[in-house]
Symmetry: C3
Subunit: 468 residues, 3 copies
């Protein structure tokens, strides 16, 4: 017996399970398209061994350390770095034992599925992690990590990744992407254009960032026209390193389509730091529409994923900084928020705008009806907290009837956790095959049509939507 | 093999499926009560043949053309008329081929179920629509349409419709309903009172409309009392043509119960066109309560279905006008919004107020608790985008535990698509039987009780709630 | 045949049902921990017989009389007392017959499950209630109630209740709890601290209530410091009678963490009755954080259950007073609302804050992400209208993936209906076992792990979270 049940995530009814199993057989070995994620390009550039098991699985994964923290374990004990550089646990084995002895906390969670998949399929660990098995698992994984076939590029190839997108700031020099390209290695690692630092007036150092964007592009970013031109040039630079998309994570889905003179005035105020919160919000919204217009010129796909209340705990932010598992979803409106952008460019089928949500109530009510009519709009997959069997099932159940399958874009893993990538795509493929099998078993889809849809959801839609 | 699987939409578990199948057998041939819809009374008045297949299935059905449009097909190519009268496709066969070659877009949608049902059961087309089968299907349907047994009245009878309600503006002369009555045909086609044009201060030509209402009724609609009296007379006129309900589709569920002097002053401002948006909203809310009071006098059922953001795309509205698939649901509050009306008349069991929602989050949270206690309030069925297998299942799962079955009103098809009526009622009957079978299989309902409930949901509740 | 199907609420698939059945066998006879409820301590203090069947099952149970009322039956006919003391039905048998002849209204509701369970398991009534069986059931239950083994203490023991919490106002003298303690009876009935009357500036008689709190505790409650000290003393008094928790049911989840001087000023304004609605709301929010700080000192668990719009119908409130089934859930925000409290004390693992919701949309979006990271925060079970098979299933499906099982606290029955307590816990145990069986059958939990989780959900988590 191993950690993984062969028929996991398939329907329990035997006949429907058999349908799901046979569909899954046709897609399980398809290459992985990972068009939106946060792996570190430096891994593939330098191709150094990953550090110890705790550094691979615990310390950097906020899904993991937030669950342990929720039961009272201090972040320091898991080696999470402090903002002030103060001491935190550095003994990988000690962190690992703490993790292992609390592994029961992950029962019923997707983290458990991902971790078991990586332990078993990547590292050959086949006993359930616990206080008792902690050391053996640690040793086995540590042994593996020392071997060449567990270096980043080798794993990339073993995972069957056809293409992966990382995400870089508009101000990033893309040195690691350059190093990958110059290395001659054939793995396809592309960047994505993430301009928060230069489109959000409330971002730390906004005016300096915009000035730096000017230096990088040779444009006069003190003017609205120069600023837009700088974006165009920078997007073009990102495209040289394979970028096919831009990525925008604002607090709300607000878009604007202001007259250019008004937008220019708003930009001028933003540069002086005199923007009100409302004006900053309007400016971010305006920039989404500007980015969409640039997309019509240069073909980059526009990704919008709003709705996270960042850094919810003030003490944790003060002590540990950003991205410590305290980003909490909020209710998000899309109907009024997306209207300016959609009225401006949403009717153009050359444009692809992909919207994600953390508010599942918008699936059936707002997003499926919008994606089911606007040529430019597509729905991103179940995401972040909803990147899970139940979350993916709800996504299909609540969007398919109104948007169909062909206004969705396959799966994104959106992860920093490299070893979880095959597991996440496997979960998505299984859940989608379970959904399709249920449609077939209930007369809503022909048995002959289902394999094509399964292939589309597992591979083709992501590849085509992201132009990879 | 045909297009329709015999056990479609039943539970996949064999035992539960058998229960559902036997329940369904008891209701599948019951007459259709269609108490809320948008078929054209002219069809039944003139009884002319329907035009070509594209004019029947594609061009007028916004479910269909919005899905094709979402993939970049211009509305013109599907023959959707332009507001400026400019050219659009008129070749039915060409439109049909476009539709057929994109039929895969409807996989997993209720449109697919309805279309396949109509193709197969009404027109005997038994091959899946595709580019290859397009012409054969077109020819077969076109042949049928030329025959007398496919004229509107013949189909009405063949569909087993016991009663159908159309919906007409308060200013409509009901000529087609008069013509039906005078024809001697026995089909029961009734109207419903839809007074948007004369209760919404923001409706185009509101003051003129109100003046016209005065002319039609001989009342002085320049005064609040005269205006209310005109409504009473007009409702009475609609009742002569079988109306048993009024129908109200405001943007929100807001109701008001203002002192009469205040309502009269608001009406006076509305007539001058000087209302603010807030005042217009309050006036619409006040009129819902006034209509409820009239219902207590004349017995018409009051239907409220709020929550649609109409004509979301400005360019599409400009080019093609209203009702082009760009009406998008929004978050809707019911608890505070309905309180004035419910506090005024909600305790009176002689009144029936039926509320629909496009915001499913209100089912378990707001609407079931309200309908589960107020004598006058009933829940309309899953509606519009939610008129689908998953939508209907969610409706039952989220309302039954708190409101029971007997505060719901059976099924409404709410459709313009005449040939989809049997399909829609069939889907509703199957989904309800599947739900009841699951309750029986899980010990929540006795096997002996289920057939009575199935009959109630398929037939009795709609007939009684709508007094048909 | 009886009223209860042996495998009720288990999955319909045979294999999964067998898993659920065997899990359930391990928990069905565990003692009942009822840490949050509204039974009357006087029952256990005096141990008098319960009155007639109607007084036991109909008149005091708002789940029951609201459903009958929703179909037009006046509250008077069910014996619900009028605020003005006017006449209502007093003939128990007549009320019972009305109830019995409308028993079909409860089809598909949890009330039906609870009632059938109590009829069958407590009173040996094994025929479905109806007009025909009404008298026989009435007689049988009335006979039982006259016997000593149906007195409150005997039922308490027969039900296997290990501990039950009632809820008393901060101003209550706890005389019944004292009488229980002095009686020498060993049943564990504890109180809980409910301070609405003295923390809500909008509560009737707030200033007098605060003055009374001062008298009860010997503190000067005219000052902020004295007022806080009085709370501390009163909590301590409640702890003498077993209290392990405080209980807070505000309209919203708002919390505040104001500087003490500002809080004191707000309190002073509240005492004068000069608070605005906004200030009253802020004061209630501040008091939640103050209570949390006191919990850090004295160990009481803090329970927050916001989101009910109380007494929705004005006419019913006027005629019958509060708590007549007209409390309706509303949309509730938690992310911003809880932030001040959580930033202040949410990181302290010594504190337990249990949050309930009537807005299920918050489960996956807000509450699971919050409880899945803050050490102090736990999720209360599906509650009130959601204390039902579908409600409990949704709770597990929407919270487990992000919060896991160990940030939840088992089951609360939250009921006044004493005879429904075993039924409610039985439903919860069955639904949780069904959920766990499904996880096992789909490879998301090991068969060997499931019994431990089942035991945790049925018993241990409630006992530990509530420190009982």
């Amino acid at each position: 017996m191993g950690l993984l049940q062969e028929d996991r995530l398939f329907p329990v009814d035997e006949g429907t399970r058999a349908l799901a199993r046979s569909l899954y057989a046709t897609v399980k070995d398809l290459p992985i398209i990972s068009p939106h994620g946060h792996t570190d390009p430096r891994w593939f550039a330098e191709n150094e061994p990953f550090p110890d098991p705790a550094q691979l699985f615990v310390t950097p994964d906020h899904y993991v350390f937030r669950m342990l923290h929720s039961q009272g374990i201090p972040l320091e004990a898991m080696g999470v770095p402090r903002a002030d550089g103060g001491p935190t646990e550095t003994d990988g084995r000690k962190i690992w034992r703490l993790f292992a002895s609390n592994f029961h906390l992950f029962r019923g969670t997707p983290s458990r599925l991902w971790l078991d998949h990586a332990f078993s399929e990547v590292f050959g660990v086949n006993e359930r992690l616990s206080a008792e098995t902690a050391d053996a698992a640690y040793d086995q994984i540590a042994d593996c990590l020392a071997r060449p076939e567990f270096r980043p590029r080798a794993l990339f190839e073993r995972f069957g990744i056809e293409a992966i997108a990382t995400t870089e700031s508009a101000l990033d020099d893309l040195r690691w992407h350059r190093m990958i390209r110059e290395s001659g290695w054939q793995g396809r690692v592309v960047t994505a254009y993430r301009p928060d630092a230069v489109v959000d007036p409330e971002f730390a150092g906004f005016a300096e960032n915009v000035a730096q964007l000017g230096q990088l592009t040779g444009e006069d970013t003190a003017t609205w026209e120069g600023y837009l031109a700088a974006h165009r040039k920078r997007r073009s630079y990102f495209k040289e390193f394979g970028a096919t998309s831009s990525d925008h994570g604002h607090a709300t889905a607000r878009t604007e389509d202001l007259p250019q003179a008004e937008a220019a005035a708003l930009f001028a105020r933003a540069l002086t730091g005199a923007c009100t919160a409302e004006e900053a919000d309007a400016f971010r919204g305006q920039m989404l529409t500007e980015m969409a217009r640039m997309s019509l010129e240069d073909g980059l796909v526009l990704q919008i994923h709003p709705g996270s209340f960042r850094n919810h705990s003030r003490p944790v932010l003060d002590r540990f900084g950003r991205d410590k598992g305290f980003d909490i979803p909020t209710r998000t409106d899309y109907v009024r928020a997306l209207r300016p952008l959609l009225s401006a460019v949403g009717g153009d089928p050359r444009l692809t705008v992909i919207v994600f949500t953390l508010d599942e109530t918008a699936y059936a009510r707002e997003l499926a009806p919008l994606a089911g009519v606007y040529p430019a709009l597509k729905l991103g997959p179940a995401w972040w907290f909803h990147d899970s069997p139940e979350g993916m099932r709800r996504f299909r159940e609540m969007t398919t009837e109104t948007a169909g399958f062909y206004n969705t874009v396959g799966f994104n893993d959106d992860t920093r956790a490299f070893c979880s990538i095959p597991a996440r795509h496997d979960v998505a493929r299984r859940v989608d095959c379970a959904f399709l099998a249920t449609l077939v078993a209930t007369g809503r889809l022909d048995a002959e049509e289902a394999p094509e849809v399964a292939h589309d959801l597992a591979y083709r839609l992501a590849k085509e939507a992201y132009r990879l």
